[in-house]
Amino acid sequence: MSNFTEEQIRRYSRHIILPEVGGKGQKKIMETKVLIIGAGGLGSPIGLYLAAAGIGKIGIIDGDVVDLSNLQRQVFHHTSDLDVPKVESAKNKMTAINPDLEVTTYNERLSAKNIMSIFSEYDIIVDGTDNFPTKFLINDAAVFANKPLVHGGILRFDGQVMTIIPNQSTCYRCIFHNPPPAGLVPSCQEAGVLGVLAGVIGTIQATEVLKLAVGKGRLLSNRLLTYNALRSKFREVKLHRNPKCAVCGEKPTIKELIDYEQPVCAL
């Protein structure tokens, strides 16, 4: 433990005394570089807990500024942060928790153009986005870059989490194929989300990141965890890799990244 400062030993003592983590595991956490995509509902608990846990470097990407309607669930942001770029607000909160943390901010939208160069800087990718086009883009890029991806999605009272180890476990496209057509996507009137659901799903995603970093436990790979907040029910279904998957199957047809059009919401 000679590499820890005394302050670090105290700060991380509740991790270090866990046999499954220990000094070695904490060291691994501190050497891990994580990219969080989205500084919103999911990104907030993910970033706050990973900062507290001692992740060494966090990249955070989001092109939006803080809006009043965000504050019901996006706990990164305070009322005093209105109109501030979300990534700036996120960085301030994470470094306030843990000054050892190095944060890189990307105040931009993720696209097929910038995604591979951003991914190349990180060990683990976490999806905290709110839309299908970006989720498919992230999945495909994670497969191309061969980086573990922790996926999360929330809507109304439902959430789901899965961890993708490219070319080893089921990817997002293996099961969901393409962004769903209009009929299966809720319109804005049917949308909305219970704020705290972002906390439940985001903290499960952060847990997966820490397990990946430490190399312990059983990941949510080849399984999809779903949670319904109204019924207080967790369910798990088994996933299988799809040999015909367009991105990670035997004969992949997707060889370039795709910027899907954002479905327009008629509110």
Binding site: G41, N131, F132, G153, K238
Partner: protein, 94 residues
Amino acid sequence: MPVKVKIPTPLRKLTANKGEVEVDGKTIGEMIENLEKSYPGLKERLCDEAGAIRRFVNVYINEEDIRFMQGKDTSLKDGDEVSIIPAIAGGNIN
């Protein structure tokens, strides 16, 4: 032979907002036909014009994906829980 079918959020407008419905059916195929009788419009969301289950729709009996069993011919037994699991994204109105 009634089975419980979990209806995902995006399809609940067709089931009067019910998140779980009970229908009869000896197989997944029969179950879908019976679902359509009670909740018109559901079948075309789940199946394509040829009657095959759409690629982006995932149907599970208990924990297992029917694609890795007998697809629409997979038999159902009393008390089985069928889930239709779509991809989920949302939370923000842009």
